[in-house]
């Protein structure tokens, strides 16, 4: 059973992701955020349910769709917004941007913009744990599209032969940009795709945060206990376009409507209200608190300075040499 406190915490985290991303979309429209920005709206239950099943010193690694995971892991909303605004107070000092959030303090090893590429890195984090015989596990998030990349298969194979404590979490939202998974994948049931590597696969409802949390806790227990790698396929849906520049013409309205009816946020609210875990007043209050938190993050980002020109050549290497380029 997930405790009432934990239910409220997860609700708050999902709502924060939702509201901050809605605001990110506005800021993008105002030209305050540049480049590629991929929203997580609709999929919040996956990051929230799965990451809450971990310990604070377990590792998490991610793709470019990384705002949600960053926040759940404990990343500061102000540092997120400032990073998107390209400010020195951002989590990566403005050098990463939306696709490359990272947070060493919270064991969040970042977003990569290269589909599938985080998988062997995740397995390497698992290798470090196995090598040291500590009991940390690593959780890697990726999309359905990533499962057709070569390195995805390489990573799973490594994880099995070395029996590494890695949980692969596929957020199957049924599309890779505009391509239906049925057109891109020989085999669309991702959770069965790991069978060839002897890795158990679990299919879960990624629109139900309680299910995600409970099923992930079971898998975490197995993996931490030395059972080796596991794959979780969380079926979910992104409500927005692939990125900010996607008009989304490839999806049927009816399909979108169907998934909107399963929105994980009102769903948990209903469950909590029915079970009298929370009152409507408390939910309304939370909404206002989050709105204030989001506005504070935007203000913080807006008021933060850009990285100075002297930072252009900073952070290249730990050990510097006279021939290194410098400002």
């Amino acid at each position: 059973m997930i405790s009432p406190t934990d239910q409220i915490k997860m609700y708050r985290q999902m709502l924060l992701i939702r509201r901050i991303e809605e605001r990110i979309a506005e800021c993008y429209g105002e030209g305050k955020i540049g480049g590629f920005t991929h929203l997580y709206i609709g999929q919040e239950a996956v990051a929230v349910g799965a990451i809450n099943a971990l310990n604070q010193d377990d590792n998490v690694i991610d793709t470019y769709r990384d705002h949600g995971h960053f926040l759940v892991r404990g990343g500061d909303p102000k540092a997120l917004m400032a990073e998107l605004f390209g400010r020195v107070t951002g989590c990566c000092k403005g050098k990463g941007g939306s696709m490359h959030l990272a947070d060493a303090e919270h064991y969040f090893f970042g977003g990569t913009g290269i589909v599938g590429a985080s998988i062997p890195i995740a397995v390497g984090l698992g290798l470090a744990s196995a090598y040291r015989e500590d009991d940390h596990i690593t959780m890697a998030f990726f999309g359905d599209g990533a499962t057709n990349q070569g390195v995805w298969h390489e990573g799973l194979n490594f994880a099995t032969i070395w029996n590494l404590p890695v949980i692969f979490v596929c957020e199957n939202n049924f599309y890779g940009i505009g391509t239906d998974v049925r057109l891109s994948s020989a085999f669309t049931e991702v959770h069965k795709k790991a069978a060839g590597y002897g890795i158990p696969g679990y299919l879960i409802d990624g629109m139900d945060v309680m299910e995600v949390r409970q099923r992930c806790e079971e898998v975490v227990r197995l993996v931490r206990g030395g059972a080796g790698p596991a794959l979780i396929e969380a079926r979910c849906y992104r409500y927005q376009g692939h990125s900010m520049t996607d008009p989304g013409r490839y999806r049927a309205r009816a399909e979108e409507e169907l998934w909107r009816k399963r929105d994980p946020i009102p769903r948990l609210a209903r469950q909590m209200l029915d079970a009298e875990v929370v009152t409507q007043e408390r939910l309304d209050e939370m909404e206002r608190e989050i709105e204030a938190q989001v506005e504070e993050a935007v203000r913080f980002a807006d008021e933060s300075p850009e990285p100075g020109p002297e930072m252009l050549y900073e952070h290249m290497f730990r050990e510097r040499y006279p021939s290194d380029p410098h400002a």
Binding site: K95, A102, P120, L127, F158
Partner: protein
Amino acid sequence: MREIRFYEALIEAMAEEMRRDERVFLMGEDIGLFGGTFRATEGLMAEFGERRVRDTPIAEAGIVGLALGAAFGGLRPVPELMTMNFAIVAMDQIVNHVAKMRYMFGGQFDLPLTIRAPGGGGTQKGAQHSHSIESWFVNAPGIRVVIPSTPHDAKGLLKTSIRCDDPVLFVEHERLYSVKGPVPEESEELLIPLGQAETKRPGRDVTLVAWSFMVHDALKAAEALAEEGIEAEVWDPRTLDPFDWDALYASVARTRRCVVAEEGWRTLGVGAEIAARLQEHLFHELDAPVQRVGAADVPTPYARNLEQAALPSAEDLFRAALKICT
């Protein structure tokens, strides 16, 4: 001083660093039981066991990616790519991830991994197994490129690379493995700082810049030039990133002439960068245009005569130097 072979120097370097630091471990294809394609890890599995000398599947992007992840996790991996040719398969992990993740995450992580890769041509291995592509990695900021020419340098630089807190690509030439040279006894710690060139032969008339196997061709060319009354200096940068520019400028300012030799393709090679910097910094000190010697811009052909025609030689260096010295 005792003489050992290049591959033996590498084994010593890895063994010493593994004894010194529990976080150092090796991984690669056929490096354990088999002892390494070029014997460069021979005996290490016997001493350190399967935990620290890990035979991997044939999956180069995976090998580099895992090593990177392990570095994120606080270890100091020394992955071996069976050859440099297969670095091309792992290019995304090396260039997009290993080399970028420190900078792009605002310096939050140290990534101490040393990727060893044997490369180079001249042994009729054909178009896909003869690469000298160090310039590709010098072009990509964020990874050090170390490329020794002697057993002594190989040992001292590999030890320093493994201790370095940043990613290093350590390039070994396949024709160097059996080369013998003086190396101090194991009881004497041999560490060579990155970014320090060494003059392999002093001279006053022309600077021959060469690294890796080409150093030995340059030494031969210098012998031949001496018979023509030309005293050539053979200057080995030893590491291409960082690069000892000041030492190069000092040498060329003295000799006023320079030939750059590399085994990689000539077009946009490291030599092109060196020539460009020399004219930027020393235009008025130069008595002749900087000459470049490099591989013909073709996939390396198999036939012995064609391969020799494609790859640069001591003869090419000799002629290039003679042209600007007379």
